[in-house]
């Protein structure tokens, strides 16, 4: 099939004025300067509102004496669909089962929140938090100390009997 060429006719450059179009654009800009309905958020000074059920990076709850609440039962690495939790259980000097190693690879995590849902002692939580930038990749494997230091709010679990949290 022979190609059809459409020839566009443009005004001669010497005979065209852009003043009208420029004024039209400036008018829109000045209209927004005085528009009371602002849409630009002054992040990071101004933080966006996050849902209570927002699922961000994890945190580990601690007992009053500073021990992690985790008892190394192994349910979160079992349920984790991304296989991002590494757990080695052991016994502390008071005879309590606790995690010797507890690491979450936040790069691999898909933030489904099932670890929080399955935890029988409410130790591991996903959090209402999104600022996770780091300078190196290895900082994204959160170890137990890091998880215990995190202090952002924990996520509200979805309640099937109250699906809209009312």
């Amino acid at each position: 099939m022979a190609a059809t060429v459409k020839v566009m006719r443009r005004p001669d450059p010497g005979q065209t004025s852009y003043i009208r179009a420029t004024l039209k654009g400036m008018a829109l800009t000045f209209k927004h300067m005085v528009n009371p309905k602002k849409v630009t958020r002054q992040y990071p000074e101004e933080q966006p509102p996050l849902s209570e059920r927002w699922r961000g990076t994890h945190r580990m709850e601690v007992h009053a004496d500073g021990r992690p609440k985790c008892v190394a039962c192994g349910l979160c690495p079992t349920v984790c669909p991304a296989n991002c939790i590494r757990l080695v259980g052991g016994e502390d000097d008071q005879g309590n089962r606790y995690p010797i190693v507890y690491e979450i690879d936040e790069f691999r995590c898909i933030f489904c929140g099932m670890c929080q849902e399955v935890c029988p002692v409410e130790a591991i939580h996903v959090g209402v938090h999104f600022e996770n930038a780091e300078y190196t990749r290895d900082r994204f494997v959160y170890d137990l100390d890091r998880l215990m230091e995190q202090d952002h709010p924990t996520t509200l679990l979805w309640d099937p009997s109250d699906p809209r949290s009312e």
Binding site: V71, A72, C73, G74, L75, T78, G89, G90, E91, G95, R97, P120, V121
Partner: protein, 536 residues
Amino acid sequence: MADSKATQETVTLTIDGQEVTVPKGTTILQAAESMGTRVPHYCYHPGLTAPAQCRLCLVEVQGAPKLQASCVTAAQDGQVVLTESEQATEMRQGVLEFYLANHPLDCPICDQSGECKLQDYVHAEGRKHGRSREPKRVFGRDDFGGDILFYGDRCVMCTRCVRFMEEKAQDPRLTVVERGNRSIIDTFFEDGVEGSPYAGNIVDICPVGALVSKDFLHKARAWDLDHTPSICPNCSQGCNIDLHVRDNRVQRIKPRANLSVNEYWMCDYGRHRYEWMNREDRLEAPAYKVGGEYVITDWSSVLDELAERLDDPRPALAVASPFASTEELGALRRLVDHLGGGRIVYRMPRADEEIPLPGFSDLARRRDLAPNGKGAEILGMERVGDDEGRGGLEDFSGHTGTLIVLGDELADLDQGFGEQASLYMYLGAHPSPAARQADFLLPRCTFAEQEGTFINHQGRVQRFWPGIQATGAAQPAWIALAALQLRLEGGGRGISTAAEAFLQVAEVAPELQGLSYQTIGTRGALVNEPVALPGS
């Protein structure tokens, strides 16, 4: 178990609407299991007497005034048994609720979680919520000595452990103290079961997490473990075992039932010797010496080179290991025969005494502390060395012909071993000082990484399966030896499976003729001629 006289007659009964014919004397529970219906139970164990005290195996027998304990009620002709009737399930639910009245429900920190019968039964049939408002009794944790820890709170008082120590170990060190709600398992003496050579079995038979192993404590979750049927490599008894593997490491060994060998048990000696299977100092790639330096290469190049060097055969001597599989030993026998024949010796550590299990006389920790001494003997290998598995290789150090070492780590020998040999080939899993002079270093799988057979002291050929991945390029020795022989013979029938390797061994060992992996199966098969037992 029905005795031999009773097996003459049979009875036919109906269980859950299905007719089943069993030998007279069989209990209802066994009859139900023979047709695939599992009746929940705690106190009944096929290897022990049944006291009918857990009250969980109650079933409805039509015509009987109340529910019958199926573990002790003999099956009778024309009986109509209902295991799932409303009355029976309601009773089981009630019994389980009583068990949970004092159970701490500490499943998250309990080692039995995932293989716990209380968990299983309550999950299947129990109430969703407890109704008990009373405080639970608390005993805490008790050290029973040896490898055993006792969590009294979790105990369901099935007394399997007490009966095992009484009936099988015949060393009654456990008993029930107190009565009713406060009753608890306890030891008579301070040292508990310390020193009892079969005490580890009470952890296996405990249906809940009351008795746990210190060695396995908090090590892995039951559902993370892969189970591979295998044979205990620690003595010539050849107990059937399961290797429990996680992250490519053997985490523990559990006995596997085989009524002809070890019934349901195994000794603690074997149970706790598994760490060597996880050793990380391994030979990983085949290598051969060129001008005093090792060249690391691949299997086909090293075998080509080896075949070229062996083309002009010299008198061969070989050291084999009784820890190697029959297939590996047979491949070595065939190779040495091909090279013109020669002595093959093996060294085997030997214990001072047998450690029998009094309640099952066929089972003992045997004096020969290797799994396949019988296989080596059948293949015409000669036993040398002392009871430590050392010495006996004085003629070998100065040998000037071909020298082959298969599996033996030569721990007692120095770096000069094999210096004079025209060709020294070391087929091993681990590096050894005595392999320094080896012209060819070939990495071999341990038994846990390959399929094969061991022949136990009775002459029973038993199969084992690979539980963990081999390190690097390590292969079962029979693969390398058979490929080498193919090159030496300049063609012929190649083999690719352990089953074929076994058939090749049978060609040189009349005792194994007619046997195959199919006939051996998972239970093992005796070698053809009753070979005289070693003087152990």
